[in-house]
Amino acid sequence: MNKITAAITGVQGYLPEDVLSNEDLTKMVDTSDEWITTRTGIKERRIMKNGASSDMAEQAVIKLLQKKNIDPLEIELVILASVTPDYLFPSTANVLCDKVGMTNAWGFDLSAACSGFLFALTTATQFIENGRYKKVLVVGVDKMSSIVDYTDRTTCVIFGDGAGVVLLEPNEEGLGIQDHILRTDGSGREFLIQPGGGSANPSTFETVEKKMHFVKQEGLQVFKFAVTKMADVSAEIMEKNNLSSDDVAWLVPHQANLRIIDATASRMGLSTDKVMINIQKYGNTTAATLPLCLWDYESQLKKGDNIILSAFGGGFTWGAILIKWAYNS
């Protein structure tokens, strides 16, 4: 009997309709389209004015199940990565299962900031590879507008809202998730953090007054970490699997900053036509960037393609996953 691998067999995204452009932001904070574009590569981002993270995830999951002609009752497990859950508890995966009618599934949330989708996909892979599960959903969703301070020009230009989901199923052809390298370094936790609302700083009038429920970022420290770690881990997973740049069909990088994406691709020896980029349209949607890239580029992916997913995020967290793509669209 062939070894069972976990393969992505479907992908879907959801983006709210409302667009927040760089021009819109110039009316809110002291910035300019040129300043934002040259530093980040972002031109606009989507904002969900009404609703919660689970509502975006619900739309993505329903469309995926329709596309794959799968009954919600067939889903056995949902792992949802997010830093903007509907509530601290119950989990957003729990809410999502109810909204979509996935009543045979159990689920949980996973918090690893912008690396959340990598961590969730790796976790889900174990449940498939051990033979216990046949249909698992991995969701990356964030409503970053719910924790962004729109008077802070250093962060409000970066983030957007969105959701992405993949279906993971067993594969006996050796396709699917091949390898992963995941890392955490908690000494970097202060550099990218939402300080208020947890047990360290429970919500009070003071935490609200001090804006502790918003994202705080030490931009330079995060950039330094990101640009080195994301490139290092991407090169490491290539080396570990004896892959040359010619062997890699696509890099799927976390969409936080175009300069970091370019540096990562350069370190891997990849030309820009092998790099998935949609940061200009959506900004940084945190846990949703990777599945949204896969969704945007799905029609260009071919069975057998070597694809490297790479991300970094608050924590610090970072990592890379090697996938052998399992289907033609």
């Binding site: 040259t38 530093r39 931009g219 330079l220 950039f223 330094k224 640009v227 300069r259 540096a263 350069s266």
Partner: protein
């Protein structure tokens, strides 16, 4: 804006540098372990500290730390540097 502050910021950002390692005439590409990543961090450091974004050509035109300081100062003020 003083070059001593500029140098101090560089020495602080790069973990393998100690105070006194860098002088105005230091050739930054000769720094131990220099790579394109260091160039990006230089650009980010200057952007973060002085809100000046150097492009690739401007960075290529610089050889020493003083060159970097001068071009940053010029972009801020359009005048001469106070070294």
């Amino acid at each position: 804006m003083e070059i001593v502050d500029f140098i101090a910021a560089i020495e602080e950002e790069f973990e393998d540098l100690n105070p006194g390692d860098v002088s105005p005439n230091s050739v930054f590409r000769d720094m131990e372990g220099w790579s394109s990543m260091h160039a990006l961090i230089f650009v980010a450091l200057i952007d973060s500290k002085y809100d000046v974004l150097l492009n690739g050509d401007e960075l290529k035109s610089c050889v020493t730390i003083k060159d970097l300081f001068d071009i940053t100062f010029l972009k801020i003020n359009g005048g001469g540097a106070n070294t």
